[in-house]
Amino acid sequence: MNYERTKQLYQQLILDHNKNPRNFRIIDPADKEAVGNNPLCGDKLVVYVNVNEDQIVEDVSFIGEGCAISKASASMMTTFAKGKHIDEVNHIFQQFHDLTTGKLDPEKDEHDLGKLAVFAGVKDLPARVKCATLSWHTLHAAVNGKEQISTE
């Protein structure tokens, strides 16, 4: 039973993004960048983002160290956000936050998360919620002109 729960969290999609993270590079120069820290783990990542005058994310990338959850989440976030309007990114950030904290049930509630719903299992692991949301918080900070964020 436990093995099933573990498998549920570490699904193939997450393992794949962990092993081969997408957009795992520096954008130089980037319009905006921010550093995200999780002092509890010592994890750190940098998110780079270029936003055009129509508020569309033209390019987004990340680098850093982290667990499979945080790396896969950052990777999937970049593939999701690219080409999207900032308002849509913020909207999904809110839904993703609600998903990982258990306020949104992807089976029952309406949502636009698509594949990002794979992170639903994190809600049962309070210590790991920050791993899943660190990259989103960091992107949000970058877009809003903050340079450093911390999950503490």
């Binding site: 436990n2 093995y3 729960r5 570490y10 393992l15 783990c41 010592g42 667990c67 499979a68 959850i69």
Partner: protein, 419 residues
Amino acid sequence: MSSKSVNGTLTPETTFNPHLYRKDFPVLSREVHGKPLVYLDNAASSQMPQQVIDSYAEYHGSYHSNVHRGVHALSQQATDEYEGAREYIRAYINASSTKEVIFTSGATDSINLVAQSYGRTNIKEGDEILITNMEHHANIVPWKMLCEETGAVLKVIPITDKGELDLEAFEELLSEKTAILGVVMVSNALGTINPVKEMIAKAHEKGAVVVVDGAQAMPHVRIDVQDLDVDFFAFSAHKVYGPTGCGVLYGKKSLLEEMPPYRGGGDMILSVSFDEVIYNQLPYKFEAGTPGISQVIGLARALKYVDEIGVEKIAAWEDELLSYATQEIKKIPQVKVIGEAENKASVLSFVIEGVHPHDIGTILDEDGIAIRTGHHCAQPVMERFCIPATSRASFAFYNTKEEVDALIASLKKVIEIFT
């Protein structure tokens, strides 16, 4: 010190039976996620036996009151038990007087007391404070703060690839300028047992005062502060089967007497007026406010529990567990052990190629196995070994070889999931 190389041969005829003691620890019979708890996070906090819980509960249930204050029976009993605990702890670490045993909120608080009281009085610009690359943040940050305040310079003794202190570098770094040597007796991240007695003697030759962080040493090593000739020795109750929120600073009376109080308040004074405050004598000068009475009583009871078994017997069994675990974990090719000192306490830090420690921790937790993952409040150690974090299993005398087997089986599952 009763400790053995991790590469040493196993002694299968060991007569130690952890099951005799497991029944004393109520938490060890609980389940986690439907599996029996396998508690291998003892270096973060060890569990409390029923005897300690009872002593704690007895204070709160039958004589809860303040110490050193009342003329009534409860206060007198609380004072007697509290001071009796101080005497027990004095004898346990072989301090020469109860004036040398100061209760704090933990090893961190103890070290801050030394840095703030001794340090601010005695350290001046250009003095050197020598610490090691192996320290817990608790024995780095207070000194860093003191350096910033006084203009003293922080120097660091490096670690070898095996995870031992580079003692040649230590002797080179040590000089007449060294005002304080701060060293951890047993590393929480690597398990290394450092030769503190020899280091203290060398530091004294140069006139330095030595502060030993003994938090991890207490459960494994019999401490004799006079034999070590240590100037200050800090430890926490919760790492030696006692309650959280309580610790001890041992200090030589001659040093403590000259030091100003660290905090002001009740209990640390003889008289107070708006014109003049006269401070209390040792050890009360350093114990402002109502102390953690039940925690102190619990700590003394925990040390009594350890003493009844015998810390040497405890260390021998933990060594056997460490040897067995090290031998078994090394059979997994993806695992790399971090810290392979000759003289090591029961801490097994490791990394698995391609798997972050937090993922290991989560998967093990699903199997009811508690380990620590992260930087262990020793980020400079992680930096030294060029890793962001490790997984750490740390063993106590109540752990069994079957629990080691459970750890190994769960680690194999981690590798299966990630490859």
